[in-house]
């Protein structure tokens, strides 16, 4: 629909991860004109995950890339449009929302914010210096460069566990450095790690520095917190999975309310404090950070958006 010669979409979804792709399947089937804007990978973090074992309906698991491709196809089949670009600002112009993007200005009656999260940096010496030549955050992208090499994985959550298992396809050995006294991953993953003789888990071990030379990374220096001793792990590369930060920096000058950690606050209808602006998936305050729940929230948000548009 257009007003003063400018096109106004019924809904613009920021991000094209599982949450907004699921939302788009619902809105397009209701004939709601739907545009998604994606700055990274279509499919979001799910697309860069090797294998997903806990998404309902796939008893043998499904590759993240395949699930993402299917979600994209399903949304596009019903008429969703996906634009490759980044949303840099959102402002209200009366009932209409204005989105500044790298591809120009876009207008919408409603907005779904489903921008997910991004990898957190560790913040230790050497991390920046060796980024891309020994320090990595994406196992499915760069794991293949470590065939028969030694790796360190930093982190003790589900992502670190899952990615370590993927990296054993290539690496000869992996030292996992876990800061706390136990892993935060699911029992299924912990069991798989313990059964894998290529992986050694070091609990109570901090990562203090990544050391190398002009040929790349040589070792990771940490501290064994129990013994209070410095420990060193020789390696050719380091993969870091130490948590996720919300992708909300583009909202900092907007009226949209965030929680202390920067996640978007919503009510039970998944609407933010700005009427007509909704949020779903990992970026929403209180989200449970799973593909199934991100998809479910997307479906809920779509139904709330339909109701908003009808009124």
């Amino acid at each position: 629909m257009s007003e003063n010669n400018r096109e106004i979409h019924d809904v613009v979804m920021v991000g094209a991860g599982p949450s907004s792709l699921s939302a788009a399947i619902y809105t397009t089937r209701e004939d709601i004109d739907t545009l998604l804007i994606e700055k990274g990978v279509i499919g979001g973090l799910a697309a860069i995950t090797d294998k997903i074992d806990n998404y309902p309906g796939f008893p043998d698991g499904v590759s993240g890339l395949e699930l993402s491709e299917n979600l994209r196809k399903q949304a596009e089949k019903f008429g969703a449009k996906i634009m490759l670009g980044e949303v840099t600002k959102i402002t209200g112009e009366g009932e209409t929302k204005r989105l500044d993007t790298t591809e120009g200005t876009i207008y919408a009656k409603t907005v779904l914010l489903a921008t997910g999260t991004d990898h957190r940096k560790l913040g230790v010496p050497g991390e920046e210096e060796f980024y891309g030549r020994g320090v990595h955050y994406c196992a499915t992208c760069d794991g293949a460069f470590y065939r028969d090499k030694k790796l360190v994985v930093v982190g003790g959550g589900n992502s670190a566990a899952q990615e370590s298992l993927f990296l054993t396809r290539y690496a000869s050995h992996i030292d996992m450095l876990v800061r706390s006294d136990k892993m935060r991953a699911s029992d299924v993953l912990i069991n798989k790690l313990q059964e894998n003789d290529k992986i050694t888990i070091h609990l109570n071990t901090t990562t203090d520095e990544i050391v190398g030379d002009n040929t790349g990374v040589k070792k990771v220096v940490g501290t064994d917190k129990i013994k209070g001793q410095k420990v060193e792990f020789e390696c050719d590369g380091v993969f870091i999975f130490v948590g996720l930060n919300p992708n909300t920096s583009f909202l900092k000058d907007s009226a949209i309310e965030l929680d202390e950690a920067g996640f978007i606050k919503t009510n039970s209808r998944l609407e933010t404090n700005v009427p007509g602006v909704f949020a779903s998936g990992d970026v929403r305050s209180g989200a449970t950070m799973q593909i199934a729940t991100a998809s479910g929230e997307g479906a809920t948000a779509a139904l709330m958006i339909r109701e908003y548009l009808e009124n």
Partner: protein
Amino acid sequence: MSQNITVYTTNSCAYCGMVKRWLDTKGYAYQEINLEEQPERQQEVLEMSGSLSVPVTVVNAANGSKSIAVGYNIGKLASML
């Protein structure tokens, strides 16, 4: 001579797929070099980009200049073409 674009990739890299998709939507032709299938070419990428992290996109412009993007960054890619 017109510009020449090369994208270095690995098999399971989703960001590599996005670079190719972005180039396709903008109508640019490119050649792909899969570093998992051609590991002997990894050193050349490391030397050229200072990085062994894919995707790496190399644009050799018609005037002979060369620009390189590591990762999938639409703004950077657009400025190179």
